[in-house]
Symmetry: D2
Subunit: 346 residues, 4 copies
């Protein structure tokens, strides 16, 4: 099959590799109809990935059709239309059964396309372990674009917003308005935010947030957020970048008693936290990675009810065969690029 | 001054009575710019009021301008534009200081226009006790219509929705789509409801809810709510009527584990609760009366941010001089009547 | 095997019946080491049971050793020491996987010994459906008496206390001091209750609660609870009887804003609720039945840590062969009887 | 009057200074019956104080009798027995009225004895601003020792435990077993902790915690906490030291999904946070300073009910005249020293 593979910094190629087969009787294979490029794929693309492997198939966002199921798979059949959860678990231990796959007690939590261990889904086919727990049926009325955003970006944003314990009427600042940040804007609104302040260096991304009802922060956020809040700061800050500078910014624009929730990926072992400020302002700080399965029930209900439209973040549909260009475009943050969706059939 | 006074069932008159004076040094007098008729005024109008008094001035919803303040009033001055909270407290005990005026430890919780004790505000002027705690400044950008709805209807709906502990994605049924019920539809949306099912006997009221994004329930709600929820029932039911039949209905359309929150006024000492059903379905049931002061901070933030528009419930502006007609109209529930606002200057 | 069977009001007999076999490949059989008589068994004993069946084996509390497992059982083996959860589910649908077996989406929620459908465990052996979900391993250091109380009484009390949302420092009244009520006293303490007021008609039961740190209410609870709380009432009331009179009492001794949580079984279709009082006092009322599996993780942690000692409610150990006498004793509420444990080997 | 004053690192003297007078009509003067030395007094003692001032009266923990009140003080009279809250507010703005004095909107939040601005209470008398909000009547049955601990140490511990959102059955680690840490052990128990792991370098302090039901951690906490929790780590960590090393330790012994709550004072502007670890473990981190007034209602209820005994942390009663020795003793952490209480009359 054709697949995107990683060969070093800024070197993603369209390769022909073997079709995947189910790992075991609990696994399934999905024919990918659409797959997405995620912000964390850019970590790999830039050479700061999560594994030293080379040549592996990348990507962890996919929707498609089940084409093969192991003998022990009971919830899915060939022909089912599914979204492939970016996070995977064993579907057997107590945390996994409750959807908290990152807490898997059998050490089987994982993610596609971060190395050779679990091949990615920017390909024509993807093998899914413990399929009963790691596939989700796409409900009627949910488009492939929406479902694709629900495999990772939307749950990540939702997880960040949920942990921030937004109170109705709160002023919520969102830092970073890529697909996750835009979904965080929508999540904050569902959680009852009064105002959402949208922060990004790219004007088109601020405009995209503004179109959804957020207030774009024009100028130095340290000053402007204070101005917009009568000096108080934001009641909640959701950080969707992961850089040291933006996490630091999140702390600085937070109001006394605020919750700062980080969903951007940060790999520092010594982030310089301004502890005195945090103590004076009584901040609550949380950071983590999303167990997609745990967040999806609420998100699916809201999507089906029309309360959120995850597909709004999709800006480009490109062929898998132009995968290299697609990575370059998404990496550039130019031209109003948001979510890039790849078509494996083209 | 001119004022509406109650003289018996279906007998509300425009009277000329003495202008009010401050009760004491903590009180103020407000010149009323607009006042509203509330559903609980209809209890009085129908002869099922809260006091045997006759001839008293009715009404407990008002916005206007401060024209006189006692010597101890420190937060308001003559000329301030204010909303008069329907619920009153002492502004001194711990519950009142936290806005929970119905829990007043000094026995001073009250409401205007329920009898002779605290004259009503369907009049040119109204005297306000403990003004520092019972007046609220109208923030810039909030219209008189919005502020008037914020004196009682909106906080009552919000209180009911808040107690119902809506989870994002929940299906919320609202029973009774008068001004409180319509505000409950909006409140449910702010709290993250996935779907809002709108129940009322009056087609125009269902249509008004539908225009705000709710799904009107056409036909027998016992059947239709089950149909609309794959047999499950509503995750949350907010009851905004207060009749035995509608409270019973609320219990019957609730899903297993649902919260049923009643804000309609019910005076029964032996409501026939289907306890076996409630136990099998693990229902949580709450009922109460709203302390406006406690609910307003979030509501004001949401109103200022444009997340809710309380004025949408206002359908009629009428002169105070036609108060009798106004009561008749609101009581009829006909002609699409929602909130009726009276103008004391006309 | 020998088993207790029900033959009509006040007629429970020691019978010899066929040994049970696993229902299917997901089932198991447990050799019962100890079984308990529950308050809800008394409903059956009095002739107000849940089924018109006669001759069925009664009882739903058991601990013992696994002696047979179906081919699909993966979590238990022959020889394992287990407690048999009183509530059963399918172990497959989402609610059951999260422990909420009463919400089973496959209609397989149940309980042993309420009729012929699922035979009871007051016997030498009991067959357990969906064993992976309905058995729980007894952790090291937990005695059989403690484990037996954890099959039903302790989780029921915990469920009631949890739903009551006790705030640290609250005054909690517990009505009914049988085994469930005593466990509710302990649960209230774990949830941070300041004071626990213990109400029961039987002096020995009040004394048992007092020995655990509760304050026994001597005299008319309507008066005494007010006296003990400076007129305020109890912040939380847990009702563990289920009679109309005691549920009514619960409402009457509740403070303004209190939570009333009922775990006693009430089968009324028209309980006379004093709605006006409930509204004036802003009560929150909940009633339900416990999904044991959902409550056990916290309870097991607390038991293992020595924070609660469920075995304190056990007052009598009797042979299964004297089952009739045991029922009579527990029904009498005399002689300081609390939990009665039966030994199937005697 | 006699008072302890600060003159430089390790130089606290018994001085004779002017008796205080009320600042204004809202202030009061309290004759101090007992005053305490707090861990944050040691910051000053070591020369790392919060102000460059010298010669000022130190201390912020006091109980005593009101001897003078301003004309506007309405809740207290001469002769009242009171505890002086360590944190002060304006008693007028909304946050202060809700007890959240550190959020004072008028910029009047403060603390005694940190500099010349608000003189301390390690003296015969102390002047109290906004007395209605900053004094608390000592309820009957609460000893001076208990009340003294309630002025700061107990509320600080409670605040830390409350923010940590302990779930019943959680394993809670407490780092630092001075008076605040010991109170955190008790608070964790009230919040339903299953196990409390007690960490301190001083064996006597570990023994004191063990006497209250905690498990002393003997050896390297990084290893031992993992051992004691089957590799999992603590569900909650409360840090009551404030050093970089102990905050780092708190992060390292936390389980996946844990809450880390810091109440020790840390003045770093660049604490090296291991962000990658925090993200992988999905930690929630909070740090802050306590508004005593907000925490006291629950603590007073629990103290009166006998659920907590704040006086257990008191180990030494010494005369104010030996203040220098008392500081030296408390600073040494030797000889089993916990809370040191000074008697201004001796």
């Amino acid at each position: 099959m054709r697949a995107l593979t990683y060969h070093g910094p800024f070197d993603v190629r369209v390769d022909t590799i073997d079709d995947p087969t189910p790992f075991d009787s609990e696994a399934a294979v999905v024919a990918v109809r659409a797959c997405g490029i995620c912000g964390s794929d850019l970590h790999i693309y830039e050479g700061h990935g999560f594994s030293p492997d080379l040549g592996f198939c990348v990507g962890h966002e996919a929707v498609g059709e089940v084409v093969e199921v192991g003998a022990s798979v009971s919830r899915f059949r060939v022909g089912d239309s599914v979204l492939v959860s970016a996070s995977t678990g064993c579907n057997d231990c107590a945390p996994c059964r409750a959807g908290y796959v990152l807490g898997c007690e059998r050490g089987r939590s994982g993610c596609y396309g971060l190395g050779s261990m679990l091949p990615g889904s920017q390909a024509e086919y993807v093998a899914v372990p413990a399929a009963d727990g790691n596939l989700v049926a796409i409900p009627e009325g949910v488009s492939d674009d929406a479902a694709l955003v629900l495999t990772d970006n939307a749950p990540t944003a939702w997880y960040g917003a949920r942990r921030a314990r937004i109170q109705p009427g709160d002023t919520v600042a969102v830092i970073g308005l890529g697909p996750v940040g835009i979904m965080a804007v929508l999540a904050a609104q569902v959680f009852g935010a009064g105002r959402v302040l949208a922060i990004d260096l790219v004007a088109e991304r601020r405009a995209a947030a503004a179109a959804l009802g957020a207030e774009p922060v024009e100028g130095d956020p340290r000053l402007v957020v204070r101005e917009l809040t009568s000096g108080r700061g934001a009641d909640v800050v959701i950080e969707a970048v992961g850089a040291d500078a933006t996490i630091d910014l999140a702390m600085k624009i937070a109001a006394r008693g605020a919750r700062v929730s980080v969903v951007g990926v940060n790999q520092s072992s010594a982030f310089p936290m301004h502890m005195q400020l945090a103590q004076f302002n009584e901040l609550e700080f949380s950071i983590g990675l999303c167990s997609v399965q745990r967040e999806l029930p609420a998100l699916l209900a809201l999507t089906r009810a029309g309360r959120i439209a995850p597909e709004v973040v999709v800006t480009h549909h490109l062929p898998l065969s132009g995968g290299d260009d697609a990575y370059r475009l998404f990496h550039s943050r130019e031209g109003g690029v948001g979510k890039v969706v790849l078509d494996p059939s083209a």
